[in-house]
């Protein structure tokens, strides 16, 4: 038997990364499919996980080095007070936006009949609260995990109308693959979920997308590349190579010319296809815009442009305040502990080696920019996307450098 020749002269690094089969796992899948990992000297094994809990446990117990994570996950894993902590590092945001708040037909129809302006999230939240109080039954909603941006966006949206958790609404976590059954059986009346599930619900005529997550937090980080901190510490060079490979994939993903090919690849059984065939007996939904794109035109999902991949410390701080505001257990939180988890410094170095520019500052006042704007980068001016927050909130992390920890 011939001994296989190594791919490259330097050592090939083996790395096991988990992903949950969602549209925004595309950066990992495409980096694998286009040989981008390999070009950086990484041999990556992608492992598909059915639930966020499973991905978290496998990373915690060393069966995976890291994976595609919900943006709040590195914070909740590193700073938990109700379970053993697993320090996680992220040096890169993988995607922004892509969540939808979808209501089942009944609830949506009642909202329409109330005459409210469906484009105004605060107005719709008020109308739903009135509805709940009138019928004396909480609105039953689902998110995908208690420590997900979906959950926090739902709660921020309902909070904006003064809705009371447990009285005006209930939120339970339901895995995306089961959202359809839950809505069909009447167990929930609406949900906040990532793509392609909103599109599936719409196409199956089980519900209507009422809002995009983008209307609650504009261009918020949705998924990040999370790694066990001990691995990242021991393999700093490899971490940079990993970011380089994923950045190349993200840049490719933002080009509409590539979306038809992306759809073909995601539809393969080992990625999202089997899930769709097994659970709903069909291919995942495509939108006619841009020639069969898997991206829903309303959800503004993107992967690269306007510094999408930059892991802002101020956004990490914002996410931490939301977790605490909505009763997730986090340890005492200050900027130094966040700086160990979110690593703009690592990103800047990895991106710079590819000639991709990044802002020179690590934090900004969140919510201050209703339009895309320009900042100083390492090489010249860089574009940064808008960051409005629902109800024109501003989040100045310096004004609250220490988040009061909640009572464990």
């Amino acid at each position: 038997m011939a001994i296989p020749t190594p791919i490259r002269r330097h050592t090939v690094f083996h790395l096991r990364l988990g992903f949950v089969p969602l549209l925004d796992s595309a950066p990992l899948i495409m980096a694998q499919e286009m040989g981008l990992f390999e070009a950086e000297g990484l041999r990556v094994e992608l492992v598909r996980e059915s639930s966020w809990a499973s991905l978290r446990d496998k990373i915690s117990f060393g069966l995976l080095e890291g994976g595609h994570m919900l943006a709040p996950m590195p914070l909740s894993m590193s700073l938990a007070t109700d379970r053993p902590r697993v320090p996680v590092t992220t040096g890169m945001v993988l995607s922004r936006n892509g969540n939808g708040i979808t209501l089942g037909n009944d609830l949506f129809d009642r909202l329409v009949l109330s005459g409210v302006d469906l484009r105004q999230p605060i107005e719709t939240a008020r109308a739903l609260t009135r509805l709940a109080r009138k019928r004396q039954k909480p609105i039953q909603l689902a998110s995908v995990a208690p420590w997900s941006s979906h959950d926090l966006q739902l709660r921020d949206w309902l909070d904006s109308a003064g809705a009371v958790n447990g009285e005006d609404f209930h939120i339970i976590p339901v895995s995306p693959v089961q959202m359809m059954d839950a809505l069909r059986s009447g167990a929930i009346e609406g949900c906040c979920v990532g793509e392609p599930w909103n599109s599936v619900l719409e196409r199956r005529q089980l519900g209507h997308i009422l809002h995009s997550g983008h209307q609650i937090w504009q261009n918020a980080p949705e998924k990040v590349m999370g790694l066990r901190a001990d691995w990242a510490e021991q393999h700093q060079e490899m971490h940079r190579h990993l970011i380089r490979a994923l950045l190349a994939a993200c840049r490719w993903l933002d080009s509409p010319n590539n979306h038809a090919m992306l759809a073909r690849i995601l539809a393969r059984p080992e990625y999202l296809g089997e899930y769709f065939n097994r659970n709903i007996g069909e291919q995942f939904p495509l939108h006619p815009a841009g020639g069969n794109s898997p991206f829903h035109p309303r959800l503004h999902q993107h992967f690269f442009h306007n510094s999408a991949n930059f892991p802002w410390l101020s956004q990490a701080h914002w996410l931490a305040t939301r977790l605490i505001a909505h009763q997730q257990q986090l340890a005492h939180l200050d900027m130094p502990s966040i700086q160990r988890i979110f690593r703009p410094d690592i990103f800047r170095e990895a991106a710079g080696s590819l000639g991709i520019d990044a802002p020179v500052i690590d934090s900004k006042t969140e919510g201050q920019h209703p339009c895309a704007f320009t900042l100083n980068g390492q090489f010249g001016p860089v574009d940064v996307s808008s960051d409005s927050l629902l109800g024109e909130q501003l989040h100045d992390w310096q004004a609250s450098p220490t988040v009061p920890a909640n009572k464990a």
């Binding site: 002269r9 040989g35 809990a53 446990d57 117990f61 069966l63 109700d82 976590p173 339901v174 089961q178």
Partner: protein, 206 residues
């Protein structure tokens, strides 16, 4: 071996054959096992109705995300076993469970040794099914793809008289330029370069 207390266990596993084996092993140890074929939202109701001391669930079940949250909703709900992994001994048990694809949720106040013996017998049953899973994970397609890539690289090296690194870079940029998967581009290059070579490759009987 009889364990120190008899517990009520809710077992959720989409693999009926495996579930039967786990069920038999636990019943044999004197526990009461309730089997459930889960659906999207029946789980919360089942836990509320049956009040199990412990839930054993296939790690790949999407129901886990729902179970995760129950402990935050009420104090009597089973908590994820990974939360109590403070002791090194427990860590080893849990690591073995994660490896075997078993996840467990336990209500407070159950003796650690009972929990460990139940998890150990679930692990044993799950492990006998592991071989099958590993086989499925390494899809034939991935191996085929690798073969094409290696072969195309070899041909490019010969054709362009370059080293392996440059050959791989050429293959990759060709794939990117044509918006093609790497193995698909590799196949095209093989067809192209083999067509040009003086000694055509031996046709495989298919």
């Amino acid at each position: 071996m009889q364990s120190s207390e008899s517990l009520r266990i809710l077992l959720i596993d989409n693999n009926p054959e495996r579930a039967s084996k786990v069920c038999a092993a636990l019943t044999h140890s004197g526990h009461e096992v309730i089997r459930q074929r889960p659906d999207a939202t029946g789980l919360t109701a089942a836990v509320a109705r049956d009040q199990p001391d412990m839930v054993i669930i296939d790690m790949d079940s999407p129901d886990r995300d729902t179970l995760e949250n129950m402990s935050t909703l009420n104090d009597h709900a089973p908590r994820p076993i990974v939360f109590s992994a403070d002791q090194p001994g427990d860590r080893a048990t849990i690591q073995a469970a994660v490896r075997a694809g078993v996840s467990a949720y336990v209500v407070d106040g159950i003796k650690p040794e009972s929990v460990r013996s139940i998890i150990d017998s679930a692990i044993a049953q799950f492990e006998s099914f592991q071989a099958l899973r590993t086989e499925l994970a390494e899809t034939r397609g991935a191996l085929e793809d690798r073969k094409y890539i290696e072969k195309a690289k070899g041909l490019i090296m010969k054709h362009e008289n370059c080293d392996e690194d440059s050959a791989f870079q050429m293959l990759r940029s060709a794939a990117m330029d044509h918006s093609e998967r790497l193995p698909d581009m590799a196949r095209r290059i093989i067809t192209l370069l083999e067509g040009q070579s003086a000694a055509p490759a031996v046709k495989k009987a298919s």
